[in-house]
């Protein structure tokens, strides 16, 4: 395939996105085994892995797209669908499990009207489960974005989520 055709990627949503991805790739270009660090940073930047970015990596690092998709679907950290502004992680580690985290998850699912693994329609929240965030002594724990909440009881769930809705509407 001619180089031009190979570069005819699906387009980025924003013009600046291409520069962001190019910047991330440049950071790790000379590192051996750089595929994962590049993908992790892109995943963090967009909250998911947009297709044009994956094609971009494939071009630049000379890794077949199939291999990139295999890596993307293998590791839990990556998402191939867009995720919400706030990512909620309910810890299902053993410590949290025996202290009732499945009930926090149920409450969150009802509150947000989605199942875990899904995103609310307004793209405000994505609900995910995580296998231990290491807060076992303060179980059950949930993480919203970068904030960790320990010793959460089911009745507090609503209030925690509301505090993010308020912030979002400001």
């Amino acid at each position: 395939m001619p180089e031009e055709a190979a570069r005819a990627r699906t387009t980025y949503a924003e013009v600046t996105d291409e520069d962001a991805v190019a910047g991330i790739i440049a950071t790790y270009r000379d590192e051996p085994g750089n595929l994962l660090p590049v993908m992790l940073d892109i995943n963090r930047h967009f909250n998911w892995l947009p297709r044009p970015a994956l094609e971009h990596i494939s071009d630049e690092l000379k890794v077949p797209l199939t291999e990139i998709l295999r890596v993307a679907s293998f590791y839990n950290a990556f998402s191939l669908t867009p995720r919400g502004k706030n990512i909620i992680n309910v810890c299902l580690g053993t410590g949290c499990f025996v202290k009732g985290s499945p009930r926090l998850l149920e409450r969150l699912e009802r509150k947000l009207g989605i199942r875990h693994g899904e995103t609310t329609e307004d793209m405000a929240f994505t609900l995910e489960v995580v296998r231990c965030i290491g807060c076992c002594a303060l179980a059950p724990a949930i993480r919203v974005g970068e904030a960790t909440y320990g010793r959460v009881n089911p009745d507090q769930v609503s209030k925690i989520i509301d505090s993010y809705i308020e912030t979002a509407s400001l």
Binding site: G33, L40, T94, G134
Partner: protein, 636 residues
């Protein structure tokens, strides 16, 4: 500056001592992830604000987790030449009150957890008192650190600095003897002598499998090749375990120094720390530690003026439990899908990019510097039989004192749970203790006097594992727990080998059927048979140990399986399809709380009249049960 010899290290140490023990009041806030999730960041902000408001001349700093997570947020105040007091369950309000007391020149006397009169500089083997003589004016009821049951049986080697230093300060690490062992190794010992010392110490891999560390190092040292690698496995994937997080967040230099010593011993020039991305703070502190060590020449070229050079990089995991397996971890660092491969060749022969490689766990690396500094005999004086030294456990679940504890191997499970752990929450009956995560098993009460070591736990069908210890009580259903772990391993199986991929799925299906009341006679035997098959034929440790939770729960709690299968009952009242909620008419006073709490309008009743639950509508969420203040809602 670059440190080239012991004298220069001692100069930094002197500076570090002044930082660690200033001649004015020092306030330390435990700011590990556990502390922050309990509100330590708010406490820190309140302290900082009040100190500024009052213009108080004190030092406010952060520290790692001292282990007593249950009592977080923890704040320590060092009253110079007097004492150090640890305060528990602090809030913004009590933080303000604390600063106010300091302003008035008083010792703040509320919320004290304990007093610390002295601390051990473990690496140097010296004791540094905070006060001498001890301040007589302190109320006698302030317990001493070493008298608290939670701390008294602990021996902190891995956790030597956690909760005592600012983890983001290399000077404070050096103040307590840090990097002296690296200096000793590089300047005074041959690589072979370092390996001999580690071998003689009896240290075994703390990741769980327990392979002798010194032997592993020797294999790597003797493997042909110029280029070798050392790797730290910080992909702490076991649910219910946070020892590595605690160490990396609270004392990252302990790992950096251990790895540098290992690299010197094995002839490696490069190393990687593979840390899970779920631990952002640990990664952050590790990055700081590495750049500080590079700044002082403790990493990089010609360390301590010798020919030894070592660089260390961090690689973030991307959330795959199987990457804790060493060959999968290597594949992941190489940028590939983290699938294990058959061994041999072992990583010591052909590891990262085909070069000889040694992988040790965070805890194992953190033991190295003290072993080199204090000697193998000192280290081997802790522990018992074939299990020397100490190890770190995360003691969690239904115990009163949950947290991070480091104990000499050979301590009994009962001591762990009832002395350190302070017994079971609400004085309920203990049912089991789970060790070894998804690869381990559930040990019942009758074996609580078993010593915690590699061989004794294996004899019970569990494993020591990396250090998760989850205590379960009568409200935990053992079939549900087995299902929980199988759901985990089924999800995390990489899918490369059939026994693990298909076997865990079949086990999971059978357990689902049993917990939903669809179990049949003979299912238990099928579970045992399938488990044996998976154990024998799986490619890597994940599959080979995945059936352990099923096998141990069947072995020790067979009656619970039978109750589910034969009577369609869940004795612990956990499995939803087998339980019903109902209201006791004589206890219900019609307060309506349950009706209001029910998310699906399954509770009917008018005010001051006994309510009832419509079973067809009930989703068994338990909201009515949790909310009832009169014990009128029961589960059958």
């Amino acid at each position: 500056m670059k440190i080239a010899n012991l004298e220069q290290l001692k100069e930094i140490k002197a500076r570090g001592l002044r930082l660690t023990y200033p001649d004015k009041i020092k306030i330390m806030v435990g700011m590990a992830t556990c502390g922050i999730s309990a509100g330590a960041d708010k406490v820190y902000a309140a302290l900082s604000q009040r100190i500024a408001e009052l213009g108080l001349d004190v030092v406010l700093t952060k520290t790692g987790c001292i282990g007593f997570c249950q009592r977080e947020p923890l704040v320590d105040v060092i009253y110079p030449k007097q004492v150090r007091l640890t305060y528990q369950a602090m809030t913004s309000e009590s933080a303000t009150a604390l600063v106010d007391a300091l302003k008035e020149g008083r010792i703040y006397e509320s919320q004290t957890l304990c007093r610390i009169d002295q601390e051990d500089f473990l690496v140097e083997g010296v004791v540094r008192p905070y006060a001498n003589p001890h301040p007589p004016e302190l109320p006698p009821e302030f317990p001493r650190y070493e008298d608290l049951p939670f701390f008294s049986k602990q021996v902190k080697i891995s956790l030597r600095n956690c909760g005592f230093i600012n983890p983001e300060s290399i000077e404070e690490y050096i103040a307590r003897g840090g990097y002296q062992a690296l200096c000793k190794a590089v300047a005074e010992m041959t690589p072979e002598a370092v390996i001999a010392e580690v071998k003689a110490s009896g240290l075994r891999g703390r990741g769980g499998a327990g392979f002798p560390t010194g032997l592993k190092w020797e294999f790597c040292r003797n493997a042909p090749g110029e280029l070798k690698y050392v790797i730290c496995n910080a992909d702490e994937g076991d649910p219910g375990a946070f020892m590595d997080r605690g160490i990396l967040e609270g004392d990252p230099h302990a790992v950096v120094e251990g790895m540098a010593i290992g690299a010197y011993a094995m002839g490696a020039r490069e190393g990687y720390v593979y840390c899970r991305a779920e631990y952002p703070l640990a990664i952050d502190h590790l990055k700081t530690a590495i750049s500080q060590a590079e700044g002082l020449g403790l990493l990089g070229e010609k360390i301590f003026g010798s020919d030894f050079s070592f660089t260390l990089k961090i690689r973030e995991g991307a959330g795959a439990f199987v990457c804790g397996e060493e060959t999968a971890l290597i594949a992941s660092i190489e940028g590939r899908v983290g699938e294990p491969r058959p061994r041999p060749p072992f990583p010591a022969q052909s590891g990262l990019w085909g070069k000889p490689t040694t992988i040790n766990n965070v805890k194992t690396w953190s033991h190295i510097a003290p072993i080199v500094a204090r000697g193998a005999d000192w280290y081997a004086s802790f522990g018992s039989g074939n299990s020397k030294g100490t190890t770190v456990f995360s003691l969690v679940g239904k115990v009163n004192n949950s947290g991070l504890v480091e104990v000499p191997l050979g301590i009994t499970l009962r001591e762990m749970i009832y002395d350190l752990g302070g017994g079971i929450i609400g004085d309920r009956a203990i049912k089991a203790v789970q060790t070894g995560g998804p690869s381990g098993g559930c040990i019942p009460e009758e074996f609580l006097d078993t010593p915690v070591d590699y061989d004794s736990l294996a004899a019970l069908g569990s494993i020591m594992g990396s250090g998760g210890m989850i205590v379960m009580d009568e409200k935990d259903c053992m079939v549900d727990i087995a299902k929980y772990f199988l759901d985990f391993t089924r999800d995390e199986s990489c899918g490369k080998c059939t026994p693990c991929r298909e076997g865990t799925l079949r086990l999971m299906e059978m357990l689902e059927a049993i917990t939903e009341g669809r179990g049949q006679e003979g299912d238990i035997d099928k579970l045992i048979k399938m488990s044996g098959l998976i154990k024998k034929t799986s490619l890597c440790g994940l599959g080979a140990t995945a059936p352990n939770p099923v096998l141990t729960t069947i072995k020790y709690f067979r009656d619970e399986y039978e109750a589910h299968i034969r009577d369609h009952k869940c004795p612990a009242k956990v499995c939803k399809p087998l339980i019903t909620f109902r209201v006791l008419e004589d206890k219900c006073n019609g307060c309506q709380l349950c009706r209001l709490r029910c998310p699906v309008e399954a509770v009917l009743g008018t005010k001051k009249e006994p309510h009832q639950i419509i079973q067809e509508k009930c989703i068994k969420c338990g909201a009515c049960y949790d909310g009832c203040k009169f014990d009128a809602v029961v589960v059958d």
